[in-house]
């Protein structure tokens, strides 16, 4: 057997390797470390290296076409066939590349808004000091000064008149003013005074996404577009029900509505306090807010009874809210700030989806696009710039880390990705922030479920196989469970587990979403195989692993390069509408043009949902790439394509 010369960079080590040896084996032979958390199964992509010379790639799973083009290969899946040079990148470089590759979160990237700012303008104004001859009142003096600066007939709210006398005198008649120059509701109206201070004013705004489970926001500099800070937290309404239906029911009880309204305002107040601690920016300095959310969340935020949303013919009170003042709503920012709740489409497709469609450029694309926003309410849009249909389905909060024993939000301490060794069943995981784990976030749960499935720890119906030779699988308090991290490794000192109940929750969530887009597609006669791009949004943190989402049957089995994970698209679209009047108007147009399809009136949905309650699906033939991996890893229970594994 021929041997070949292998040079390892950056160490410069050289060795001989026979034809047919794996690159991974050569690296290990040289005594170098190489991460292989999946056990050399070509599933995790963590052993990616640069290869120049004689080598054959057996599989390039987890590598993007750009990476392959650049010379990357998976060490565990690449066979040596000639002399070659192998460059082992630093581990963190791989991580960074994998993240940015899959997660095209555009937050903070250059954004063309300057020409059409919604227009909050702050500047210092010089006024003549009054005397016994020039003794006009403060308000008239200020109005004259603003008119001289080019802003005539400025509307001044009572709240600012109340502190005008003191501020003008404190500032020695040179106050800072903030004006709202225009808004979508009155593009040609007179300017409005938003703030008046003796100290300098910076024009700051908030983009807020109110999810059923998670509330997220950006603090934004309205003149530069910079995202100064981001924060997210569970919606504390969660104590009164996990999904929108239970919230609506709660809202119909005595004081239920005001409790729910208070809860979401408390959550926002907490996030604003957190932002203040980190940045020093107080709520009263925030001069504008744009808010997205599903229709029920927006009703509750505004204190509007949501009851009619739940009963046929499912009529919300408002899809297109007007502009209201923060003080009127009770949002603890500058009480004069305008709060713009973005337009939604129908009772179950809210402004989170219209903002998402804006953010993912679906309204301007020629490509047939499937957009899936994975949240407690899964919302789906399908179409092109010329037509758009949309629907919603209730997934539950599992993908947001809620309703799962060791679930948590995608913040520091969350396990966000897991690999399970096919033979030892030992896990390797990555923790956000790099410290000890505290729980598992949505992307971690998807990853963990996929790994447990393809390694055979969990069967296709979600059953945990208790007879495997590993301590990781055991009978726990809540039934069978898999231990992801032993107490000794965790921050809390307790084992982190995934229980059978958790698995069932995850199955229901993914089944609802899969059923949603398949029924939507078939209702308009679209074959999913013809979808040119699949855009995935959700508040998962930095990214979800598309491969694993396909493996559990959450996403359709299409070529990977058709998938793009866009992060929290609702928040992203809200951010765009906050900055740009043009984008705000485009969003309104999107909301008007989307055709809503009511799944609850469709029996096909329930059939599709039931069929999707398996891993990856009752008909495994719908997921050929998954079937291949699963069988290669030693599927213990092969099932005929199209058959029901339980039958």
């Amino acid at each position: 057997m021929a041997t070949h010369k292998v040079v390892l960079q950056p160490s410069g080590l050289t060795l001989e390797a026979p034809t047919g040896a794996l690159v991974a084996e050569a690296i290990q032979q040289a005594g170098l470390e190489l991460a292989q958390p999946c056990g050399g199964q070509g599933r995790c992509g963590r052993c990616a290296v640069l290869v120049e010379g004689g080598a054959r790639r057996r599989s390039s799973l987890r590598l993007s076409s750009e990476d392959v083009q650049a010379g990357y290969a998976l060490a565990c899946q690449t066979v040596i066939e000639g002399d070659l040079t192998i460059t082992i990148p630093e581990q963190e470089k791989i991580e960074r590349r994998m993240v940015t590759d899959k997660a095209a979160a555009r937050i903070g990237l250059p954004f063309p808004y300057s020409s059409d700012l919604q227009g909050v303008h702050a500047f210092r104004l010089s006024l003549p000091e009054p005397n016994l001859q020039d003794n006009t009142d403060d308000l008239t003096r200020l109005s004259k000064g603003l008119a001289l600066a080019g802003y005539s007939q400025v509307e001044v709210p009572l709240g600012l008149i109340r502190r005008m006398g003191e501020t003008l005198r404190q500032s020695e008649w040179s106050p800072w003013v903030a004006l709202e120059l225009r808004s979508w509701s009155r593009p040609d109206g007179p300017p409005r005074l938003l703030d008046l201070r003796a100290d300098p004013i910076e024009p700051l705004g908030l983009a807020i996404d109110i999810g059923t489970t998670t509330v997220s926001l950006h603090l934004v500099n309205l003149s530069s577009g910079e995202v100064i800070e981001t924060a997210a937290e569970y919606n504390s309404q969660i104590a009164f029900g996990e999904d929108v239906i239970s919230r609506i029911i709660y809202a119909s009880k005595n004081d239920g509505l005001s409790s729910l309204t208070q809860r979401v305002h408390q959550t926002l107040a907490m996030l604003l306090e957190r932002i203040q601690k980190r940045t020093g920016v107080g709520g009263d300095q925030i001069l504008k807010a744009v808010v997205s959310g599903n229709t029920t969340m927006i009703h509750l935020f505004l204190g509007i009874p949501p009851a009619p949303i739940r009963v046929a013919p499912y009529i919300p009170t408002v899809n297109l809210p007007g502009l209201y003042l923060a003080g009127e709503i009770g949002l603890p920012i500058n009480p004069q700030a305008v709060v713009d709740c973005l337009p939604g489409v129908a009772s179950y497709v809210g402004s989170d989806i219209s903002a998402g469609v804006l953010a993912c450029d679906l309204a301007t694309t020629d490509q047939l696009t499937l957009f899936i926003d994975v949240g407690t309410n899964g919302e789906i849009a399908l179409g092109t710039r010329d037509w758009l249909v949309t629907c919603a389905c209730s997934a539950g909060p599992a993908f947001e880390g809620a309703g799962v024993v060791d679930g948590m939000r995608a913040t520091e301490g969350a396990i966000e990705e897991v690999w399970v060794n096919s033979t030892s069943y030992e896990p390797t995981y990555r923790v956000i922030g790099g410290g000890k784990p505290r729980g598992i976030c949505g992307s971690g749960l998807i990853s963990l479920l996929a790994e447990l499935f393809v390694t055979g720890v969990i069967d296709r119906a979600g059953g945990v196989k208790l007879d495997l030779e590993t301590r990781r699988v055991r009978q726990g308090e809540h039934g069978p469970e898999y231990v992801v991290a032993w107490g000794a490794e965790t921050e809390t000192g307790k084992d982190l587990v995934l229980t059978k109940v958790d698995v069932d929750n995850l199955l229901r969530a993914k089944a609802a979403i899969y059923a949603g887009f398949t029924v939507l597609a078939s209702s308009v006669g679209v074959n999913l195989a013809n979808v040119e791009q699949v855009l995935v949004g959700g508040s998962f943190g930095k990214y979800i692993n598309v491969e694993k989402a396909v493996q559990i049957g959450l996403l359709p089995d299409l070529p990977w390069d058709r998938f793009h994970f866009l992060g929290n698209t609702s928040l992203q679209g809200t951010y765009m509408a906050l900055l740009s009047l043009d984008q705000r108007q485009l969003l309104a147009q999107i909301a008007r043009q989307m055709t809503y399809i009511e799944l609850s009136a469709d029996n096909n949905f329930y059939d599709a949902f039931t069929a999707a309650m398996f891993l990856p699906h009752t008909e495994i033939a719908r997921f050929p790439s998954v079937a291949e991996v699963w069988e290669r890893n030693g599927a213990q229970e092969p099932v005929a394509s199209g058959g029901d594994p339980k039958s």
Copy 2:
């Protein structure tokens, strides 16, 4: 001596009377009753009778020229010189004539507003019921319905959206709506939804006058102009100071501003409760409010710190407030109702005076007019349609019955007019409502002070003569006092008195006002004798007796037919502005055009004030008609014209 035949009607009695007998003597001779509370001095006007035939009028004091023309004469001042017929009117007819004659309160009179209504319109709207096909949201459905009815792009406030779902369904999709069609700040703007109900809506508004001492309001039907109810009460801020300066000082203390703001809102809430008890109209049914008041009162009502008003250069924060919502201000009416605080002129000439000028037609007259609004702050305007100067002076609350031991507002139980017999010093009084007296209101105090002065009970410096032969004058708890009503006659069972301290308060009040208009007139070179009409406003109840106001030196000594008492002109102008956009705009123009003259910077004012601290004035020659009456009644201390009685 010749005798004459005298026929008395309506009794038909006939008798003989000699030449030179008084008509009053003839009536008494016939055994008929005739009211002569002043003791036959020709001062009270209560003995007015119709006289046809041979008679000579010695004096027609208290009779208008129309009354004289119609044949009325004072029985005590009319000498028989030939045969004659005397008709004794019913007592109540005299009262009514005297009141309407002197008090041209125009409230409730026809008022030409219909062509230019500020425009609150209420009607019932029919909407199509939603179904699964026609499933647009409630707000869009309502907006479409309004557009079909001719009102497009109606602005809908959040407060109404909050109850929209329930109201539309309760009304079975035929709700009542109230729209504000236009307002001065946006005559061409889109309509605004004010109310939405399942029950019929009547368009109701409030005209509010916030005085330093008294708060008055009218509940008005905005489509008919009818004043449905009127109510007035002391401003409960009075506990924190009697005049605007002490209120401003109080407002500068910790929480002082919010206490004062709360107090005036509490007073308004109490008045609204009273109105609700009487009419059944709840605050939430009131869809518009227009408010006048002096500049400090408006600042406190709106929660604006008034401190700069008090210090040179005397700059208020706002003379021309915008339109604010009731909910924002805290006025307990429909929170969506617009509250329009009328425009003022300067720190000490507020919208009470601009509303008063509107109400008294001063802005459209060719006659040289002196307008005096007697309140805690006396406000004065002088001019014609072509020019107007204005000033203010602090009179204190005495004329509103406050700060006086037995003072009260002009409501049921208040003594509103007093006559004192010149020889017995016994009083006769008229009580509002006709029952037992509880106190003395402003007009009663003016009347009492004048009577005590002309009958010699009080000297020109305000001293009470304790040596008179009457039990009415005595040394009381608070010094010398005159007993107007014994405890046996009063509702409280306690004596009602006027003390020396009260007299001093009244003297200061009248001196401030007299000094105000005399200095104002001389500052623009106007001789008061050339003033063609003197218009007097104030919240005195139905009227003040002009004669007596002249006797105490509150008003200048001009022919009586130049005086017109107009009642609460501030409230009247506010009512006009509530109903009519044209009147509202005229009022704004009045406020812009008035020239304010600051008396506090004028030493002449203090000199004039000091000179006016006597009855009627240091220079009695300024009041020839008063000097005549006073001397006829037996002046005990004639003083050389122009001299100081104390020197």
